[in-house]
């Protein structure tokens, strides 16, 4: 066989091998995206129902389940390529606000959506190409406060692209008019809450370090309680603070220890807003995040990531007593193939 023929045969063989593997890959039954529970949850004002997101192949639908666990009910299913996340109940429990998320050309977008908790009827409250990340009702149920990012970019070469230039906005639910409450263009804002008296907003932000900020709605004055506790990291890496129904306590997630690989282990901490003293209340030795208070009992639902710092998260929901003595996993059955 001549050298030329050898080359032709070898290159043809390689092309056939590649095309064969490519076609096998195209026809293989590969999941298109993340499947599993979402990170955030909401508890109805009567403490009966838990609402959460569940992802099917990368798209999150909203489900409801009794707070003790059991079979979930599909509440809202988005069109392909979009997700419904970050639900929050109205004070009377009749409405649920959530965020519709999607991406176009690697740019994420988020719009406000409102849904009847019983009817399941949905309506979009904002439209266009906004980047709204979360929303909560005011205590009187007449308005929504929401976080909106101005840009999605990396602020430095060693940072990932993220939403930035955050501000708080308010929407009047009678007129649907929107006003901007803050003018901070904050690097980061999350975990928005309104105090029970409706006079202050609480949120987490990053200003040199992670902070919980209380902002007066009357004069925009801010206070930033710094929890007093033993932290396993050099500085608090505080996330997902949640305000109790009486407005006297905050539960947040922070570094409690490190595992054998040096990965931080986040647990739930309770801070008393009278003296800012905080104590650890969970002991999962895993990643605890997004606590949500029950409204009428000393209990919480927390999200535990069983695969923290890995390629994909694996979230579970656990009920935890406020004194940290009890913790119980919520067993939820997601109905197969159900469509609205």
């Amino acid at each position: 066989m001549t050298l030329k023929m050898k080359n032709i045969l070898f290159i043809s063989g390689m092309l056939i091998l590649f095309l064969l593997l490519w076609s096998v890959t195209l026809f293989a039954d590969v999941p298109k995206g993340f499947t599993g529970y979402g990170e955030t949850t909401a508890i109805s004002p009567d403490d009966e129902t838990l609402v959460f997101s569940y992802y099917h192949d990368g798209d999150a639908s909203l489900y409801a389940v009794p707070v003790d666990g059991g079979e979930a009910t599909l509440l809202a299913q988005p069109e392909e390529g979009t997700s419904y996340v970050n639900p929050a109940f109205s004070p009377d429990g009749d409405m649920i606000v959530f965020i519709k998320q999607w991406q176009e050309e690697e740019q994420p977008y988020g719009e406000l959506m409102l849904m009847g908790a019983a009817s399941g009827e949905k309506r979009a409250l904002t439209s266009g190409y906004n980047l709204i990340t979360e929303a909560v009702f005011s205590p009187d149920g007449g308005s929504l406060y929401f976080l909106q990012a101005g840009v999605f970019q990396n602020y430095s070469d060693i940072a990932r692209e993220r939403p930035h230039d955050f501000d708080i906005h308010r929407m009047d639910l009678h007129t649907y008019e929107t006003e901007q409450v803050t003018n901070k263009k904050a690097y980061d804002m999350s975990s928005l809450a309104v105090t029970p008296d409706g006079e202050e907003l609480m949120y987490r932000s990053y200003e040199d370090s992670d902070r919980i900020i209380f902002m007066s709605m009357e004069n925009n004055r801010e206070t930033s309680p710094v929890p007093i506790f033993d932290v396993a990291s050099e500085a608090p890496i505080l996330s997902s603070p949640a305000l109790s129904s009486d407005g006297e306590q905050v539960i947040f997630s922070d570094v409690a220890s490190k595992d054998e690989n040096g990965t931080f282990i986040y647990e739930g901490f309770r801070m008393d807003l009278d003296n800012y003293e905080a104590e650890q209340i969970t002991n999962f030795q895993e990643h605890v995040t997004e606590p949500v208070f029950f409204h009428h009992s000393d209990r919480l639902i927390v999200t535990v990531d069983k695969q923290f710092a890995q390629r994909e998260s694996d979230y579970q929901y656990w009920e935890v007593s406020l004194d940290g003595t009890e913790q119980r996993r919520l067993h939820i059955e997601i109905p197969e193939g159900e469509e609205l």
Partner: protein, 287 residues
């Protein structure tokens, strides 16, 4: 081209030698064939018959060519075949693992892996062509090595109980690649008639210079890994490859210098490798 010259060309198609060396070898082999031919003519054979008989006695082109290759560059062609085919096999096996176990296949990765393996195998098939371009072969080998190092970085983050054998396979493959690169540098630059001490110095020179090269690659890949971890893929990631590119250009000249001044080349290699890393990254910090 007469019958005997054609036969010699076919012999040389199976050997790796450089252009200059090839001319000498061609002349030497042709002289040998001419002598054989003359001896047959002296025995009363016609010119055509004498040529044919000389070629038969000389031996088949493949047999002689491969024999020459092994005596001049022992194991080099075999190593190229081993590396090339092992890379192709790794590509197929790891792709099937990512497809059916991880369920996250990457056609892009497969395309690069198969292309890299195919290039090395083609180099082994076309050993005469590649022998004329040792630096090209060296760059190709280094790029292939870097690609495997990047693959290693990605794989080691996957579930260890599943990818352990892939990692061992890759380490062995990288080991073979390092041995090949060292030998390729040595064979393509060092004169065979040096004394034993000089040859030993040259070998040390190549080994240490390649170690410096590996260090430059390791630092650049670490920098790239950090960038990817914090920022994901961006054009900035290409900056990480500048020290490698600079080192590649430098090594083209250093290969010859090592053969001439092996001891001094260790110092110049160390200095230049340090500069190849320090200058681009210092510019980045300043800017």
């Amino acid at each position: 081209m007469n019958r005997m010259e054609k036969h010699i060309q076919q012999v040389l198609q199976e050997t790796q030698c450089a252009a200059e060396e090839r001319e000498e070898l061609e002349e030497e082999l042709l002289t040998h064939l001419q002598e054989l031919k003359q001896s047959y003519i002296a025995q009363g054979e016609s010119e055509t018959k004498a040529e044919k008989l000389a070629i038969v006695q000389f031996g088949g082109s493949k047999l002689i060519g491969r024999g020459l290759q092994e005596s001049m560059y022992p194991w080099q062609r075999g190593l190229l075949y081993i590396i090339g085919i092992a890379s192709l096999l790794f590509g197929v096996l790891f792709h099937l693992y990512t497809l059916y176990v991880l369920q996250e296949p990457s056609i892009g990765w497969l395309a690069i892996q198969l292309t890299a393996g195919a290039f090395i195998t083609l180099a082994a098939i076309n050993i005469a062509f590649i022998g004329k371009h040792p630096y090209f072969l060296h760059v190709m080998g280094m790029l292939h090595l870097i690609w495997h190092a990047i693959t290693y970085l990605f794989i080691q983050g996957m579930p260890m109980n599943q990818v352990f054998l892939f990692l061992v396979y890759l380490i062995l493959l990288i080991g073979f690649q390092l041995v090949f690169l060292f030998r390729n540098s040595y064979f393509s630059s060092a004169a065979p008639n040096e004394d034993a001490r000089k040859r030993w110095e040259i070998k040390i020179g190549y080994t240490l210079n390649l170690v410096f090269g590996m260090a430059v690659i390791a630092i650049a890949l670490f920098f790239l890994w950090g960038l990817l971890l914090f920022t994901g893929w961006s054009m900035m990631a290409l900056y990480a490859f500048i020290p490698i590119l600079v080192w590649f250009v430098f090594y083209k000249y250093q290969m010859k210098f090592i053969a001439r001044k092996p001891v001094v080349s260790i110092l110049t290699g160390l200095l230049f490798s340090a500069l190849a890393v320090a200058v681009p990254y210092a510019i980045l910090v300043i800017v």
